[in-house]
Amino acid sequence: MVFGYAAYTKLSQPWALFAISVDAYHILPEWAVTVVARGLPWLELALAVLIVLGPWRRTTSVAASTLLLVFFGMMVRAYLRGEQIDCGCFGPGEAISPLTLVRDGALLAVSGFLTWDAFQHSRRPARSFQSQYSSY
C-alpha cells in the first residue's frame, strides 16, 4: 500500500519534479538523477504489486527493506547536514523533519521485521499432508 501510494504520487506528476527532489540530496550525478527519477516510481509500483500478490516473499521483502534503508540513510544524512530539502517520499512539498524521519524509520522497522519473518518461515517449511499423518 505504502509503495503503491508512493509510486502513484510520483507517476501522477512530471518526472522532473521528482528528479528535483532526488537532485537536492546532492549524492548522484545528473544522469543518475534522471535514471532514478524515471525508474524508481516503477520499481516501487512493481514492489507494491509483488508484495500484495505474494510470490517471492523473501526477495521482495529484502528489496523493500533495502530500498527503505537507502531512503532512510539519505534522509538522516541530509537532516544531520542541516539541508532543508524535500523528502521526495510521497511527491513534492514535504520537507525532511523529525516527523518524516520517525515515519520512515517506523516503515523500515516494520519492513525489517517482515523480512526476518519471511526468512524464519522459509526455514520451517510446512509439513506436507503425507508427512504430517505418516506416523498414524
Partner: protein, 195 residues
C-alpha cells in the same frame, strides 16, 4: 440588463474577497500558460542564491517570451529577525514601482544588512530621495503589513513550508518546487507544461 444587474450585484462580495494582486510584484503575460508564484524571504541565503543565479534565466527564457507569469510573494520566516521589515519595505517600494530594484538591492547586500540590521539604508540605495520618504512612511502602513501577512497565509494554505518555494501553476494543477533546483530539470517541467 434586468438579469445582469442582480448577477453582478451578487458577485460583488466574491470580487471584494478575492486576494489583491499587486501588479508591481508581477512580471510577464498574465495570460501565459504557466504562473510561477515565488515565495521567498529576503534574509534567506537560498532565496538570495535563487534570485541571483536562477531567476535571470527564468525571466529570460519564460517570463519575457510570455510563456510564464511571475508573481512575487513574501514569506518572511520567523527565525530571521529582519526579514519581515525587509518584506514590508519591498511591498512599500512596489507602490512606487520599484519592487524589483529594491528586491535586487536587498538580495545583493543580504549578508551586510542581515548582520547589522540596516535594512532601510540598503533599500534607500535603490530609491530617489522623494521615493525614500514615501517608502519609509508606507512601510509602517497597516495595509502594507497586512499585505505581507496575506502572502504568508496564502503560502501556508498552499503547503509552503520552506523558502524559496516556487509554486508552478498550470490550469488547476499546482506543483511546488522547494529550494534552488537544477535549471535543466526545472526547464523539463516548464517546457512540458508550456507545450
Amino acid at each position: 440588463m434586468k438579469l445582469s444587474f442582480p448577477l453582478l450585484f451578487s458577485l460583488l462580495p466574491i470580487l471584494s474577497a478575492a486576494p489583491t494582486l499587486d501588479k508591481a510584484k508581477t512580471f510577464g503575460n498574465p495570460d501565459a500558460p504557466i504562473t510561477i508564484e515565488l515565495f521567498s524571504d529576503f534574509q534567506c541565503p537560498s532565496c538570495r542564491m535563487l534570485h541571483i543565479t536562477l531567476l535571470p534565466s527564468i525571466m529570460r527564457d519564460y517570463v519575457l517570451p510570455g510563456k510564464a507569469y511571475l508573481v512575487y510573494k513574501e514569506y518572511p520566516l520567523p527565525q530571521h529577525n529582519h526579514s519581515r521589515e525587509a518584506a514590508a519595505y519591498a511591498c512599500a517600494a512596489a507602490r512606487v514601482g520599484k519592487y524589483e530594484q529594491v528586491a535586487d538591492a536587498l538580495f545583493q547586500n543580504q549578508p551586510a544588512w542581515a548582520e547589522n540590521g540596516k535594512v532601510f539604508e540598503t533599500v534607500s540605495t535603490a530609491l530617489t530621495p522623494a521615493e525614500q520618504k514615501k517608502v519609509q512612511a508606507l512601510a509602517r502602513d497597516p495595509g502594507i503589513l497586512d499585505e505581507v501577512q496575506q502572502d504568508v497565509q496564502q503560502g501556508q494554505s498552499q503547503g509552503v513550508n520552506q523558502t524559496p518555494t516556487m509554486l508552478i501553476i498550470h490550469g488547476t494543477k499546482r506543483y511546488p518546487v522547494a529550494g534552488v533546483p537544477n535549471y535543466s530539470l526545472l526547464r523539463s517541467i516548464l517546457d512540458g507544461l508550456a507545450k
